[in-house]
């Protein structure tokens, strides 16, 4: 589905309620604890730790989490179930309180906020959920209007703003429908519209596509990216699917047993996964040598006609790309491409080529072909030999 962001101006400058109806919020200055210019959506976690007390004793859910999320970026957090992703995400809007460390949103330690300020913080941080969490007793319109109504936005403004949001997520005709009549993808669109209602700078996505089919997942991710690009909202998402990270994230944090296993730009982490947890998560995306070739693989060259099997790896960076002509020339024999999986992520190519090379004898220095300006790949590995048929 093609989505257009209409009324961009009014979405970037959201109708944040001027007059809060509760005295507590009125007592604090406009903008709450964030003085001066408009906040941007910068999130920093400083040595964050979280310990749960379970019947089996204390459980370390998070440990030494130190990270900074740039305003306007898409930050992905990935990990296996139970890695602490959910807890980590929920510390950012204080649905969960860390047992150690600090969380700063635009420089303010959110642990210092009182109840009224916390409500203000949450109006600046939208959140969407795996199971959508729409109110079944309210129509689509009323679900999206809820954050505005509880913030005391006047009726006429609510109407206009909800129509804008419905147009943004492409559900103009569903205003009076109840959530149970919507498909999963439509429900998540309502969730997104509701999360954007109070004009947040940060959007937290809790496994937002895990309950959706691949096609809908793609459409929702596109919508999230559109929102990120056009409204400049910082998107922080957790997922257990590497494909989600690959599709939209700028930075990725790999979480393993409550600790940071890896952190960096997606192309770097994908191109050169250092931690076993990352490698395990990436495994489903990577194609190895087909089983029937693996079975034939021999460590010593067989007598008679044979081919060497080479794996050429690309890890992104250095502008290195699989240049097929140069590969064939550099290998200096008859080259056959057996299998390849190559992707461009954030302008960096990574993946691998499996090549069958014939008519080359001896033991050429493959490493020489991975260095200097004439390099043809980041890494070349000789996997073995197969008999030529």
């Amino acid at each position: 589905m093609e989505l257009s962001i209409t009324a961009r101006q009014s979405l970037t400058a959201p109708s944040r309620p001027e007059a809060e109806h509760d005295a507590a919020a009125q007592a604090s200055a406009p903008g709450g604890p964030w003085p001066g210019s408009r906040p941007k959506g910068r999130v920093a976690l400083r040595q964050v730790g979280k310990t749960y007390l379970s019947s089996a004793g204390p459980v370390q859910a998070l440990q030494d989490i130190e990270l900074e999320i740039a305003p306007g970026s898409i930050f992905g957090i990935i990990g296996r179930s139970g890695a602490g992703k959910s807890s980590l995400l929920r510390t950012i809007n204080r649905l969960e309180t860390p047992t150690s460390g600090r969380i700063e949103v635009d420089g303010v330690d959110i642990a210092t906020l009182d109840d009224a300020q916390l409500v203000q913080l949450r109006r600046r941080i939208g959140m969407i959920f795996q199971h959508f969490n729409l109110l079944s007793a309210k129509t689509v319109f009323d679900n999206i209007a809820l954050p505005l109504r509880v913030a005391g936005v006047p009726r006429q403004q609510v109407e206009g703003r909800v129509r804008e949001l419905l147009a943004l997520v492409g559900l103009e005709d569903k205003a009076d429908t109840y959530p149970r009549r919507l498909s999963g993808g439509q429900k998540q669109r309502v969730g997104i519209a509701r999360a954007l209602a109070s004009g947040p700078e940060i959007l937290l996505c809790d496994e937002a596509t895990s309950a959706l089919d691949p096609e809908t997942t793609h459409a929702i991710l596109q919508l999230l990216r559109d929102i990120n690009r056009k409204l400049g909202i910082t998107v922080i998402l957790i997922t257990h699917e590497m494909s989600v990270i690959r599709e939209i994230a700028d930075q990725v944090l790999v979480l393993e047993q409550g600790r940071i296993a890896e952190l960096g730009p997606v192309w770097q982490v994908f191109g050169n996964p250092a931690h076993p947890a990352t490698q395990a998560l990436l495994a489903p995306l990577q194609q190895g040598l087909p089983p029937e070739l693996l079975d034939q693989l021999q460590t010593v060259p067989p007598s008679g006609l044979h081919e060497r099997i080479l794996q050429l790896q690309y890890r992104g960076g250095d502008g290195l790309e699989p240049d097929l002509l140069r590969v064939a020339q550099a290998l200096g024999g008859k080259t056959r491409l057996l299998q390849a999986s190559v992707e461009r992520i954030q302008g960096h190519t990574h993946g691998q080529l499996y090549i069958a090379l014939a008519d080359v004898t001896g033991s050429p220095d493959w490493q020489a072909l991975t260095q200097g300006p004439t390099a043809i790949a980041h890494h070349i590995k000789e996997l073995g030999y197969v008999t030529r048929t």
Binding site: G126, N133, L146, Y178
Partner: protein, 222 residues
């Protein structure tokens, strides 16, 4: 043969008894509705893990409710006479029955509402908090609307229970259908009165149950 001739007591007696019953059930039901829902909300929010978690308040409230629930209505009716005099200014008649009826129905209804509220998906509460809802907003926009089908179903059960309890109100001279059946049908062996009263009660309960069920179905299917 006209209808009056075949009736052992004047038809007005039935009419008056029905009005008395409807009055007792309606007013005490309304009181239970108004008092029971806040009580149930209080039970939920003060429960462990609720957003006003307070074990002491929760325990005291729970004990009071259990106390009233454990006392049989006929005992309550008599035991509450001093309170009834204070509140209703009389200890006989319809109003004298309404006070104990409401007091016995409230904890009953509150427990049913509590169960419905407890079944509201915690994910919805979390979502509401994340959206910037304050505590009262969560009660108003999440707990009550989401639990409404259960609350309506519970109120239907409460009304039916009240129709049944109101039969005992004759003990304080409140009249009503149950009283009619006991005085004529049982004490004077007038089987006709007994049969007619039972038929009217069955009809009344059926109507209440059907309206309640219909409303719940409408709420769930929209």
């Amino acid at each position: 043969m006209s209808l009056e001739l075949s009736l052992s007591i004047p038809i007005e007696r039935y009419g008056n008894a029905l009005v008395d019953t409807l009055q007792m059930v309606g007013i005490s039901g309304a009181l239970a509705l108004v008092a029971g829902i806040p009580l149930a909300v209080l039970l939920i929010v003060t429960a462990p893990g609720g957003f006003l978690a307070s074990p002491r308040v929760h325990r005291v409230l729970g004990s009071i409710i259990n106390g009233f629930r454990a006392t049989p209505f006929i005992v309550l009716l008599v035991a509450l006479i001093p309170l009834t005099r204070l509140v209703a200014g009389t200890t006989i008649g319809v109003w004298a029955a309404i006070v104990p009826l409401a007091i016995s129905a409230t904890p009953f209804f509150a427990r049913i509402v509590e169960v419905s509220l407890r079944e509201v998906d915690p994910g919805l509460i979390e979502a509401a908090q994340a959206l910037g809802c304050k505590k009262w907003d969560i009660v108003r926009h999440v707990y009550l609307p989401e639990a409404l089908p259960g609350i309506v179903g519970g109120f239907t059960i409460t009304l039916v229970a009240l129709i049944s309890s109101s039969a005992m109100a004759g003990a304080v001279g409140a009249g009503g259908l149950g009283d009619l059946a006991i005085r004529y049908g049982y004490q004077r062996f007038d089987t006709q009165v007994m049969v007619i009263v039972i038929a009217v009660l069955i009809l009344l309960v059926s109507v209440v149950q059907r309206i309640g069920d219909g409303y719940v179905r409408w709420l769930r299917e929209r």
